[in-house]
Symmetry: C2
Subunit: 269 residues, 2 copies
């Protein structure tokens, strides 16, 4: 899978590109089921919301889950990202954000590269985020909000927010967010389960609480051009990875195969 | 202005009808400007968010503001509502909800009729809500969420929530909300400033916090068929009105006239 010239131009101008239904419903459903199995695990990679009960995010699932190992090397994701950063990539961060029905809390306005620079000493924003929707994302269940065109400004001044949620984050102040939104607007890309959002590591984004009765599970792959790897190893290895080996994509049917294997096994049981 | 047969059928089936751009941008802008003048007033009808600073809701503005007096008798609102409740109506409640940029807090899942029955002894749900958008409402700025078809079930069991926000509300539990959403879905009608949402007093609704940098000001008119007037006067008169006189609509240009007057006056100054 390759992005078209129009998509590359859109990404350059707006800071993101939305690709509806990149994965089939069956592929997304299998990943979703696996996500909930992981959220139920008691392990240090699985963080809870402030309440301490419901999962907020699960790190590094590609290192301990076969479906996520395959997603992390999927050609429908790796191919386009190689185009966008113009080179081979390694996995800098991998997380599954739960944003659970009723309980999913806010993510404040931030740039991911802000954290990667401040905490991990990543030299340049030659890195990307990919959001893979594992539930339908609607206006109702806490969609990701973007400030288009904000990626053009590099790393912006941020403060370290240790209070709002269970997850520490370098966040932008209201004055800056308002200024950027007046210039480029504020959008909430929504779409069916299996859709993909690719966005620049400097794009300012946030997401509101999910007060709806529907979950909004989204996987985030953060991919970095290999020569731009992080220089500082302050955060846990399962938060900011240190394996800079270029990712070799698997065949396109790597997830579909797994869906078929599971269906066959379930039928035999 | 009259609703079509298709709109009446949609309202009956879904519990709401969305009417885009009922008011012009100029009419909506004038009302919006007036809303912010009111939010800045120190009077008992203007309630603040829990923080105590930013306005949450302003009651009864139709009794102390000329633009809102006119909106409360506007034929584009009163005509359709008379069709929907099959009779003349009086103003049961009138409020402007601020849902301010960054600070606007949640409204939990509830039916308005639940409160009107429990607190005000309104005999039947022969009453309606009209939401008039004074800002563009998008997925990003805390849109109203509906559970379609939930209006068919009458008043549902509710608990009195005095904790979550500054405004006491009879709210539904998660189990009920989930059950209703699985049956009829969960939608977030969005549209430009000047649009109107008419919804049944038994329709279950909520709205998330507004974390965006854009305000989301919405006026709510709650209109009740005159013979169905409330029987109990427990709440303040400016929250649950006691004037059951049937509303006589003004001419269609009543707000446009005021826009023109203001423009003329400003030009002369």
């Amino acid at each position: 899978m390759k992005l078209t010239a129009a998509q590359l131009k859109e990404f350059d101008h707006e800071g993101y590109v939305f690709l509806p239904s990149v994965f089939s419903r069956a592929e997304a459903d299998m990943l979703n089921e696996e996500a909930h199995r992981i959220f139920a695990m008691q392990r240090e990679e699985v963080w809870r919301e402030s309440s301490g009960v419901v999962a907020r995010t699960a790190f590094a699932a590609h290192t301990y889950s076969e479906p996520y190992r395959r997603l992390g090397r999927h050609p429908r994701l790796i191919g386009p990202v190689e185009q966008l950063v113009d080179g081979k990539v390694y996995m800098h961060q991998f997380k599954i954000n739960a944003k659970a029905a009723f309980d999913g809390e806010i993510w404040q306005w931030h740039q991911d590269y802000g954290t990667w620079k401040a905490d991990d000493e990543m030299p340049e924003p030659r890195a990307m985020n990919i959001a893979v929707f594992l539930d339908d994302v609607t206006a109702a269940n806490g969609p990701l909000l973007f400030l288009p065109q904000s990626h053009k400004l590099g790393a912006l001044d941020a403060g370290h927010d240790l209070q709002t949620t269970s997850y520490p984050l370098w966040t932008l102040d209201r004055e800056m967010v308002t200024k950027l939104a007046k210039r480029g607007g504020c959008v909430a890309p929504t779409g069916p389960s299996g859709s993909v959002l690719m966005f620049h590591s400097c794009l300012v984004h946030a997401s509101p609480p999910n007060i709806s009765p529907f979950d909004r599970t989204v996987v985030y792959l953060s991919l970095c051009e290999t020569s731009n790897h992080i220089r500082r190893f302050k955060r846990k290895e399962w938060i900011a990875h240190r394996d800079f080996t270029p990712i070799e994509p698997l065949p396109d049917d790597c997830l579909a195969d797994l869906v078929r294997d599971r269906t066959t096994r379930q039928a035999a049981e």
